[in-house]
């Protein structure tokens, strides 16, 4: 009922907000995701990247009921992100199998 730090989903379960995770109008909001590539042990005992490429899809869904029930896909972005593109090979041999 928001007479403490609890707030329910139903209108009858709240009379205030305890936080707002929505997008405020006119303000830039950034969400950052750090996604690690899998690694394995190389022949010299040092770790190397198991995969050089990663397919990433970003989807923005509007969930009217907080679940995927009746959710609407608003935006979608996908790309193959390669360790060999947009970044220089590391100077350390253990980081580069080729």
């Amino acid at each position: 009922m928001a007479r403490g730090n609890n707030m329910g989903r139903g209108p009858y379960e709240k009379s205030s907000i305890v936080e707002d995770t929505g997008l405020p109008p006119g303000k830039e909001v950034e969400a950052r995701f750090d996604i690690f590539y899998p690694v394995m042990d190389g022949p010299d005992g040092r770790q190397i990247a198991e995969e050089r490429e990663m397919d990433v899809t970003v989807e923005l869904w509007y969930k009217p009921f907080g679940t995927m029930d009746s959710a609407v896909l608003w935006r979608e972005w996908d790309a193959t992100i390669s360790l060999d593109k947009k970044s220089k090979p590391t100077t350390y041999s253990s980081g580069n199998p080729k």
Binding site: G10, P11, S15, I35, F36, Y62, W74, R75, S82, S87
Partner: protein, 330 residues
Amino acid sequence: MKQLKIIGLSALVLLISASLAFAIGAGVGRDSTIVAKKGKAKTVQELIDMYDSTGCIDCHEDTHEDWAASPHARSIYGTGRAAATMITAMKNGFMAWEYSGVKTTKDIKVEHLMGCMKCHLPQMADAEDSVAVELADDLMEWFANAKKALKDPDDEKAVDRRDELEETLTSLNINCLVCHNRMAITHKWTDGYPQHDTVYGYNDGEHDDENFPKMKRSLIMDESILCGQCHGLGPNLELENPTQCATAYGSYMWAYRAEGGQESCQECHMEKSGLGHKILSYSDPAMIDLALDFEVESYVSQWLDGSTLKPKAVVKVKMVNRAGHSIPDG
């Protein structure tokens, strides 16, 4: 003795005047609103009839079709989910609360339902408590039959009753007369009360309808406050037990207009989107396009700590909400 009789008569006249004033309420012209002329609805059907807008269809067919595709046309039923949520609000809400005075649907009064109906059916305020009981029973019976029909689609009795009640529930809605009459004037002591024979829009003049022969300009028809009466400020503190549902108008005022935003609800949801009286939101492609700037940036980096390698992709998603309120909101 004669003097006493005169005093007694005066007191009686005063009492009658006072009771009339309470019945009609304060404000000049309040006695000519739709509800004042027709009297409060005693049944659900009377409430449907009180704001019956089918007379508008002949001349405003396109507008009617747009409206029929809008959530306003099924404001208490929705897709069925809104109606089910109202049942939850009753059962988990005032039927479970110790001091609400409600144990069964027979105890329900209009004021109990206004937590939902303030916005989903504002004309509920123009009904007697018998309508609240009937509506609550209709909702419960619809849900019971909908469940039966879902379990056994061959149960004709349940299917028929479900459909019958669905028709009743969808007949209670936010239609032409709700926006263009009942809710068309917010400042009633300044601009007058909405009159029973008048539709309110952008013009003054005659209106070709025997029940509504007059047309008057509403000063809020193109203002966000018209919508803000329902798509509200947040907590409804005027209720005996406050609820909170829509917050869009509060967000619009304090996070959008306060920061220099200039557009109105109608400009985005009706004009720029081309939606007219469909007035859609999150599910409509035009509104989705208007709502947001969306940009994704990615790069890779490798962190080598001795023999421990941590190669990673960094994905940055930048979003700017271009709506006039927080997203999501309603």
